[in-house]
């Protein structure tokens, strides 16, 4: 069973990463996906990151009330948690949910209304046409989103620390520079790219590959695609 899935996954991968049939159309789709999957998520990512940064700072400050512990550790803890965990992991999970729903609904609708069949019978490589721009757009743009999330998260922490008076700007800035390891950023971005690839590709695999290889002729209900989306999110 698992071997069969790996086989299908690989076969789909081969079709997806073929050279696009029409380069111009591929780039059009790619930039449309950048807009749909990336640009339109900036607002939400920024909003969540800013407030989470604030919450992390306040919570850390409340737990480091011991006068023997330097205040710079508040900024240090905020920075590390945002850069190493919150932005690359949690924002990616949130994006997988939002973008997953978007992909599941668009591809699911296309499948049900026979638009994917229409692409196939026209001679269009539907996997390449539909999946490649989405996967590449996610891989290209998500690192930017995560960098924005990191910046706004740290900014949110500074704003919250200042407004509440729990941490001074000087201490906060010292904290985020303390023991700074540039590889942390690289590590976070690698994590993002891997997560973006896995989440998008596996969702699309579930939706497209399943019907392609195990097509049984029965009609599919839209809820089936939402199930795929939920499964992917989990």
């Amino acid at each position: 069973m698992y071997l069969e899935s790996i086989g299908k996954y690989s076969l789909m991968l081969k079709q997806v990463f073929k050279k696009p049939q029409k380069r111009k159309i591929f780039w059009e789709n790619f930039f449309r996906e950048i807009d749909d999957l990336g640009i339109k998520s900036i607002g939400l990512v920024g909003f969540i990151s800013f407030f989470i940064g604030g919450v992390v700072t306040i919570q850390t400050a409340r737990n480091l009330s011991n006068p023997l512990i330097d205040k710079l550790y508040i900024g240090y803890a905020t920075f590390k948690s945002i850069v190493l965990e919150f932005s690359p992991t949690f924002i990616s999970i949130i994006l997988a949910g939002i973008v997953g729903s978007y992909i599941a609904s668009t591809i699911g609708t296309m499948r049900i209304s026979e638009q994917i069949d229409a692409l196939d019978v026209m001679g269009v490589n539907s996997l390449n046409y539909l999946v490649l721009p989405k996967v590449l757009a996610a891989l290209t743009f998500y690192p930017f989103l995560i960098v924005i999330s990191m910046f706004l998260g740290v900014l949110g922490g500074w704003v919250a620390g200042n407004i509440t008076g729990m941490v001074l700007t000087e201490d906060y800035l010292k904290g985020i520079r303390y023991d700074f390891e540039p590889f942390d950023i690289t590590y976070a971005l690698i994590k993002t790219v891997v997560f973006a690839f896995y989440s998008h590709y596996s969702l699309l695999f579930r939706i497209l590959c399943k019907r392609r290889f195990t097509r049984s002729g029965e009609s599919q209900h839209p809820s089936g695609y939402l199930d795929q989306c939920n499964h992917n999110r989990i």
Partner: protein
């Protein structure tokens, strides 16, 4: 010409197609009829390559589908026009973009050449001036005509229509039927229509194949329908009292009357 030889297909051990053979002639409207669940859609989707048959061969003007490489199969697909039951128009594109799509994918035409061809096919389906509308903004009958326009835009050799009249009123249905017939003659295509609409059968059925439980039960044309004693065909075609009366009348007046 499309030749199907001994086609078998089963799902989860349940046979749906049981050795169907048929020849679909060029320049004719070939109709596949049968009750729901008789295997019509699976048969057509097998011919289109959307379903992999278990056994049997399908050849397009001598080119056997299963012997072809993927690029060769894609090449044949560019010669195929399909009108799906639900039209399958891309809802994020305008009518013009929908019709232009196959040309953008498979030709090197300039934008003005493509626009010219779009207007040409829209005129052929009597649907001028809807270029910038979205599929959701036009009626079901108009969508069907747009689907036909998209199907013929690359001068297909083979035209497939899956229940082209479903959801349409009788008058629009006849317009669509006649349009399909006109386009078949004009482009000399091998047209295969999957239907259970009796009006369509009587209107444009130049070759009719009846499927029942995955078998081919009968083959003929629209005038032969009235004079056959095949019980399955009579049961299917003349299930309504109106058609039974029409049959009696036609039989009384003889073959020449139809």
């Amino acid at each position: 010409m499309i030749e199907v030889n001994n086609l078998y297909k089963s799902f989860d051990g349940k046979p749906v197609l049981k050795g169907i053979s048929a020849v679909f002639e060029t320049g004719k409207t070939n109709m596949i009829i049968g009750r729901s669940g008789s295997g019509k859609t699976v048969f057509v989707k097998s011919i289109l390559g959307l379903i992999q048959p278990d056994k049997g061969t399908i050849s397009f003007d001598g080119r056997v589908w299963s012997n072809l490489s993927l690029p060769e199969q894609r090449k044949i697909r560019t010669e195929v026009g399909v009108v799906f039951q639900g039209n399958a128009l891309f809802d994020s594109m305008t009518i013009e973009e929908n019709i232009m799509f196959p040309m953008r994918m498979f030709t090197q035409k300039t934008k003005s050449e493509m626009k010219k061809r779009v207007n040409e096919v829209l005129e052929q389906v009597s649907l001028e001036g809807v270029n910038n509308k979205f599929p959701a903004e036009i009626s079901g009958g108009m969508q069907k005509r747009v689907a036909l326009a998209r199907a013929i835009v690359l001068y297909p050799k083979y035209l497939f229509c899956d229940e082209p009249n479903s959801g349409l009123d009788p008058k629009t249905a006849i317009i669509i039927d006649n349009l399909i017939h006109d386009l078949t003659v004009r482009y000399d295509t091998t047209t295969i229509i999957n239907t259970h609409d009796m009006n369509s059968i009587m209107e444009i059925g130049e070759k009719i194949i009846l499927l029942k439980d995955g078998h081919k039960q009968w083959e003929g044309n629209k005038s032969q329908v009235f004079f056959t004693d095949n019980p399955d065909l009579n049961d299917f075609v003349f299930s309504s009292s109106l058609f039974r009366k029409v049959k009696e009348l036609v039989q009384k007046e003889g073959k020449s009357s139809f």
